[in-house]
C-alpha cells in the first residue's frame, strides 16, 4: 500500500465542499496513517478520539445485534465527523472532518470509495 494510493483516496474525500480534512487512521492504535487536513485541525487528536469512539460504538452495535458498522456520522453544532471502517484487515478507518452543513450523502459515498481503494 503506497503513499500515492493513500493520497488519492484522501483526495476523493477532500474534494467535497465542506470537508475540512480527511484521514486514514489505525483503528487499533488510534494513530495517523495518512492525512490531508486544513489548518487548525489536530490530526493526532482526531485519530486517537475517532478510534476510541469507533471501538465503543462497535461494542454497542454488537450488543444491539445490528452488526459491524459500515458508516457512522457524529453530528455537532460546529462540525461533523464521518467515518467508514476499512474493508481489509488492520482496522483502518477512513475519516472526514466536515462543516455541519456538508452534503453527508456525498461524503459517505466518497468515504466508501476511499475505503475500497485502500482496502
Amino acid at each position: 500500500m503506497t503513499a500515492d494510493v493513500f493520497r488519492q483516496a484522501l483526495d476523493l474525500i477532500t474534494r467535497v465542499r465542506g470537508v475540512r480534512g480527511a484521514m486514514l487512521v489505525s483503528g487499533d492504535d488510534g494513530l495517523v496513517v495518512a492525512e490531508q487536513l486544513m489548518e487548525g485541525i489536530k490530526g493526532t487528536a482526531v485519530a486517537a478520539l475517532t478510534a476510541s469512539l469507533a471501538g465503543r460504538l462497535r461494542r454497542a452495535m454488537d450488543a444491539a445485534g445490528v452488526g459491524s458498522s459500515v458508516f457512522w456520522h457524529l453530528q455537532a453544532e460546529q462540525g461533523a465527523l464521518l467515518v467508514v471502517p476499512g474493508i481489509g484487515e488492520g482496522g483502518l478507518l477512513v475519516v472526514a472532518v466536515a462543516e455541519p452543513d456538508v452534503n453527508i450523502g456525498l461524503v459517505r459515498l466518497e468515504l466508501l470509495r476511499a475505503a475500497e481503494a485502500v482496502g
Binding site: 487512521v25 487499533d28 488510534g30 494513530l31 493526532t44 487528536a45 486517537a48 478520539l49 478510534a51 476510541s52
Partner: protein, 155 residues
C-alpha cells in the same frame, strides 16, 4: 484507587492523564528513577522495580540515540497482547520527568495515551517548581525513600 504524589505539583496533571487516557498504571519519576507520583500500583516493591527498569530503559535508549548521533527518542511503546507500555520524558523547570504508563489495549490505545501525554506534559511544565539543588546524603536518601514510599501508598 487514587493517584498519590511525593511532589504535590504532579498530582493534578497525573489525575487528569489517568482519567482521560484510561491508563491502568502510571509512574512519574526522575531519570534516576526517583518516583515523583504514581497511580495504580498496590505494592512498594512493584513501584521500585518499575521505576528502576523504566529509568534503565530510558537511559539505554538515550545512549543508543546518542551513538546514532540522533536526538533522544521522543517516546517508546511496547505492545503486548493485552497491554501496552508507554515510556517518554519531558523537560520541566524542576528537571526532566520520565513517564511510564501501562494501558489495557481493550480500554485505551497508543493514540489516546500519546494525545493526553502531550496535555499532561504541558500541565506539568506549567505547574513545576524551579529546580532546587540539594546535596543528598546517604542517610537522607534512605529516609527520603522511605517517606516517599509511605506517601505513595497513603500510609
Amino acid at each position: 484507587m487514587t493517584a498519590r504524589a511525593v511532589e504535590g505539583w504532579t498530582l493534578q496533571p497525573l489525575t487528569d492523564f489517568v482519567r482521560e487516557a484510561s491508563v491502568r498504571l502510571v509512574l512519574l519519576m526522575t531519570p534516576a528513577g526517583q518516583v515523583l507520583a504514581q497511580f495504580g500500583f498496590s505494592r512498594a516493591l512493584d513501584v521500585m522495580s518499575a521505576a528502576a527498569l523504566g529509568a534503565a530503559i530510558m537511559a539505554s535508549t538515550g545512549e543508543l540515540a546518542r551513538q546514532l548521533r540522533q536526538a533522544p527518542f521522543a517516546a517508546l511503546n511496547h505492545q503486548g497482547q493485552r497491554h501496552g507500555i508507554f515510556l517518554s520524558s519531558l523537560a520541566t523547570e524542576r528537571g526532566a520527568v520520565v513517564v511510564l504508563a501501562v494501558y489495557d489495549l481493550d480500554v485505551s490505545s497508543l493514540g489516546l495515551v500519546q494525545l493526553f501525554f502531550e496535555q499532561m506534559a504541558e500541565e506539568l511544565r506549567a505547574a513545576s517548581p524551579k529546580q532546587v539543588s540539594k546535596q543528598v546524603l546517604a542517610e537522607d536518601f534512605e529516609r527520603e525513600l522511605s517517606e516517599s514510599l509511605n506517601t505513595l501508598f497513603g500510609r
